[in-house]
């Protein structure tokens, strides 16, 4: 039997988020939970599935490197419509392009930013389930901070995100200066 991959285990999961962002953010910007018969004035949503705004929120938290633990009461949390492994498979949506690789970058960021004792994991001293739980916690906490950030902006100006460049501008504000290439302290021996 082929060994299980950490990535695959993680990708079957579906992150949680706080219900209080459902109307103000998720439904406001995405098609999340909308029936086809809805008669609401069609304002043209900025994003498609609910996970798209979750990704945006996650990266905001990630680049600010700010986390916010989710509310303890699990009744006040919700999950998205699809587990991570299906995120970004958009080929059938008109005018959109699939972005399956983005999932892998999220995973990379989670590995970089989650304090897991990988040696213990490798020895089997901690379970893989525990390790994946920790990755999910990082993911949810970054996104939770991102949602909080967006809510703040909306409180100041309810139309803030209806400027077409509003989301992009947030990401243009982060540092993107080129990084030095990785140099090991000493070359590893080849034996």
């Amino acid at each position: 039997m082929a060994a299980e991959k950490l990535y695959d285990l993680w990708a079957t999961r579906n992150p949680q988020w706080e219900k209080r962002y459902e109307d103000s953010i998720i439904k406001n910007f995405c098609d999340y939970g909308r029936g086809a018969t809805s008669l609401r004035e069609d304002r043209g949503k900025i994003f498609g599935g609910g996970y798209e705004i979750f990704i945006i929120a996650f990266f905001i938290g990630l680049y600010f490197n700010e986390r916010r633990p989710l509310i303890d009461d699990t009744q006040k949390r919700k999950i998205l419509g699809q587990p991570i492994q299906y995120w970004g498979n958009l080929d059938s949506v008109k005018g959109r392009k699939a972005y399956p690789k983005l999932r892998e970058y999220i995973f990379i960021a989670l590995i970089a930013r989650t304090d897991i004792d990988f040696i213990a994991l490798e020895k089997g001293e901690i379970t893989t389930r525990k390790a994946v739980d920790m990755l999910m916690q990082t993911m949810e906490e970054y996104a939770n901070w991102g949602f909080h950030f967006m809510e703040d902006k909306l409180t100041d100006d309810p139309n803030y995100f209806f400027r077409e460049t509003a989301f992009l501008e947030i990401f243009l504000a982060f540092d993107a200066s080129p990084v030095e290439s990785i140099e090991d302290d000493e070359p590893e021996s080849l034996d």
Partner: protein, 723 residues
């Protein structure tokens, strides 16, 4: 009818209640594009529409609509208070409500009129009151949208409507009809008598049949002739216009070409000037713009883990190798002198070995082995080896599995390591290029956007030029769109019609002669009865009377047009004070419509009066019509114009409003004149220099700022009385 006040509530951009008090003379309502000028005009049009229930939801103020809670309702209403044999009011309204599924529906349409007497009000239906005080035909000459609608004679029935309504020629119509009826009857009676007359009966019958045939033929020929003449006149007019305006036509075509080119360019630019700023974050992975530093963190972490794992692995291997090495050394020590194979480790057994060591004798060979001797040492080693084996056996039994188990059960670090390797090289390069990609694309889009703005500006200028050209030339776009090949078509059609007319004219002459001959023969018949002769004379008399009334009708129309012309010329002179204005002639056309033309004093026609002169010419006719209406109805009526002066220049505007201000007639003009716009800042200010010279009421209408230019529900017009 003099309008005293207009109230508009929740009608399109007129959110909430809005009032305008009007003066008896001129009221100016000034606003820029999109400020609600045309909406005000259309609110009045809606009020004056008597064709039935009209509760279009598009009339509802979007702002009010968006504020409504579910189940809440409000109303759209437009009303005017006016003076017409006492004070009266007309109000049109309907209620709108937001239902549970958030759709807005309308109900309770109301159209009511009121007679106001002191504090009391008597109700009457709105359309009845409107038809009583402001009948449809008068309304037609009172409301004008834009400069191009000012020519009231633009449609073929206009002259007839006007003449019928205001000239009293209607009575002539009845007389003409009545006398021609008598003429017909008397002719029939005279004929009948002739045919019954014994002496001439047969001849009369024969002649009458011939006469009827001839009359039928003549009637058909005349009909065809009239049609052909109308066609010829139309073709001639078009040809004349095109020929005289060849230069205009060429300029128009050139502008059209440029507009087409620019429109194509615009479409292309519009396609390029868009960018999916938000979804590109995901679809084009723009969100990874700042990701390289995270990749670096990941790589460092994974490299360190990988190194640590290998270090631990190596350590473990070394530990195991060491243990194995120790066992090997022991075996080496026990090697026999002559390289013979030693006994198995378990022979002799432990007790035998201990006994031999205690006794210092090798009981296998029977030789003594005193302490310190080589043989004694051999026996001690042999015992130790035995004990080591036993321990090892015991260890083997208890923890053999642990000894074989690898240090690391999982390979997650390897998974991460191969991911790290995959990331390096091209992928990493791709991610670090995202920042450049974004700035390139944003730069591209912004450049296209400014190009687009420039093209829009050029297009706007060209369209203005095109409109000015149309206004100045007096030609329709439709006509100028015709190409040279169409011109040839006009020529051909015209000459075909002309040759047909000449054939018809000859035939008609021939038929007329034949008819006259028959009639003469008929009149020469000498009936025996004197009664028959009387019938013939009566008929002859009616024929003359009919002709007289026909001529009188014609004369009357001409008189009416002359009166209209005279009145119009008085206004034209006033409106063009200190400027050239010419003489208005209203000419009847072959199809009984009329054309307003301008002539110079020396009798030559001014083909293309400039835009402002043309507008004042049409307006003068309107004022004249209104003047005649007032005389006829003994009532005054308002004239309401939406943006009538777009082709005027600043100076002309001043004069125009100064003159209108002094004309004793209620005039409501909605306009963007007298509004100065600072080109640099876009700031709009009223032209108080001109306004202060006027004595009329002035209102400013404008959009409330701030508003969202994409969201109609943020648009609201406010009405401010300036004076």
């Amino acid at each position: 009818m003099i309008i005293k006040e207009i109230k508009i509530k929740n009608f399109r951009s007129y959110y909430g209640e809005n009032h305008l008090s009007l003066s008896k003379g001129l009221t100016l309502i000034i606003g820029d594009n999109g400020d609600g000028k045309t909406t005000l005009f259309e609110a009045l049009e809606w009020l004056f529409d008597t064709t039935g229930v009209n509760t279009q939801t598009s009339h509802i103020s979007e702002k009010r609509k968006s504020e409504l809670e579910i189940g809440e309702c409000d109303e759209v209403s437009v009303s005017i208070t006016f003076e017409h044999d006492g004070e009266k009011e007309i109000e049109k309204s309907f209620t709108f409500e937001k239902s549970f599924d958030e759709t807005v529906y309308t109900r309770d349409f109301m159209f009511k009129g009121y007679f106001i007497e002191g504090a009391g009000r008597n109700v009457i239906s709105g359309d009845r009151l409107l038809n009583m005080c402001f009948e449809p035909v008068i309304r037609k000459y009172c409301l004008f949208k834009g400069e191009n609608e000012l020519n009231v004679f633009d449609n073929d029935t206009a002259l007839k409507t006007l003449v019928d309504t205001f000239s009293g020629i209607r009575q002539f119509d009845e007389l003409v009809e009545m006398t021609s009826n008598f003429e017909q009857k008397s002719a029939n009676a005279a004929n009948r008598e002739l045919q019954n007359d014994k002496k001439v009966s047969n001849q009369a019958k024969e002649l009458n049949t011939q006469l009827n045939d001839a009359l039928n033929d003549i009637k058909n020929i005349k009909q065809e002739l009239e049609q052909k003449r109308i066609s010829i006149s139309e073709f001639s007019l078009k040809l004349e216009l095109l020929e005289k305006n060849q230069e205009t036509s060429e300029r128009y075509q050139a502008i059209k070409e440029r507009i087409k080119g620019l429109t194509d360019k615009r479409a292309k630019l519009a396609g390029q000037a868009t960018c999916e700023y938000s979804t590109n974050l995901l679809d084009k992975q723009w969100i990874l713009r700042s990701f390289p530093s995270i990749i670096q963190e990941f790589s460092k972490k994974v490299s360190a883990l990988s190194k640590e794992k290998r270090r631990l692995d190596k350590q473990e291997t070394e530990r195991r190798a060491k243990e194995a090495g120790e066992r090997e050394t022991i075996s080496k020590i026990q090697k026999l002198a002559n390289d013979a194979v030693p006994l198995p480790w378990n022979l002799p057994d432990e007790s035998t070995m201990k006994e031999m060591i205690d006794d210092e004798i090798c009981k296998v060979c029977g030789r003594p082995a005193p302490k310190g001797s080589e043989a004694y040492e051999f026996m001690c080693n042999k015992l130790n080896e035995y004990l080591a084996h036993i321990t090892a056996e015991a260890n083997k039994k208890s923890g053999a599995a642990e000894e074989d188990k690898p240090l690391f059960q999982n390979t997650f670090i390897n998974e991460l390591h191969s991911r790290q390797i995959k990331l390096s090289g091209e992928t990493e390069q791709e991610i670090s290029n995202i920042a450049t990609q974004i700035s390139d694309e944003l730069d591209f889009v912004s450049k296209r956007k400014s190009e687009l703005a420039e093209v829009d500006k050029q297009l706007q200028e060209l369209k203005t030029e095109q409109n000015d050209l149309l206004m100045q030339s007096g030609l329709s776009a439709e006509l100028l769109d015709k190409s040279i090949s169409d011109l040839r078509g006009f020529f051909d059609a015209k000459s075909r019609a002309e040759s047909r007319v000449s054939v018809l004219e000859t035939t008609l002459k021939f038929k007329e002669n034949a008819k006259n001959e028959i009639q003469e023969q008929l009149s020469k018949l000498e009936p025996t009865s004197s009664m028959t002769q009387v019938y013939q004379r009566v008929h002859a008399a009616f024929e003359k009377i009919t002709k007289a009334f026909s001529n009188a009708k014609e004369q009357n129309i001409n008189n009416f047009l002359q009166m209209l012309e005279a009145e119009a010329n008085k206004y034209l002179q006033k409106l063009n004070k200190n400027d050239f204005y010419g003489i208005i002639r209203i000419r009847k056309t072959i199809n009984n419509s009329a054309r307003i033309e301008l002539y110079s004093d020396n009798g030559s026609r001014i083909e293309n009066p400039n835009g402002a002169l043309k507008t004042t010419m049409y307006m003068s006719v309107l004022f004249a019509i209104s003047q005649i209406t007032t005389l006829k109805r003994e009532q005054d009526y308002p004239l309401i114009f939406d943006a009538p002066t777009s082709s005027f220049g600043g100076f002309k505007e001043d004069t125009f409003y100064n003159v209108i201000d002094t004309i004793d007639k209620q005039c409501i003009i909605v306009t963007k004149d007298l509004l100065n716009i600072d080109k640099a800042t876009g700031q709009k200010t009223l032209d108080y220099d001109t306004i202060n010279k006027l004595s009329c009421s002035v209102y400013r209408i404008e959009k409330v700022e701030p508003f969202n230019d994409k969201d109609l529900s943020t648009i609201q017009t406010v009405v401010k009385q300036i004076r």
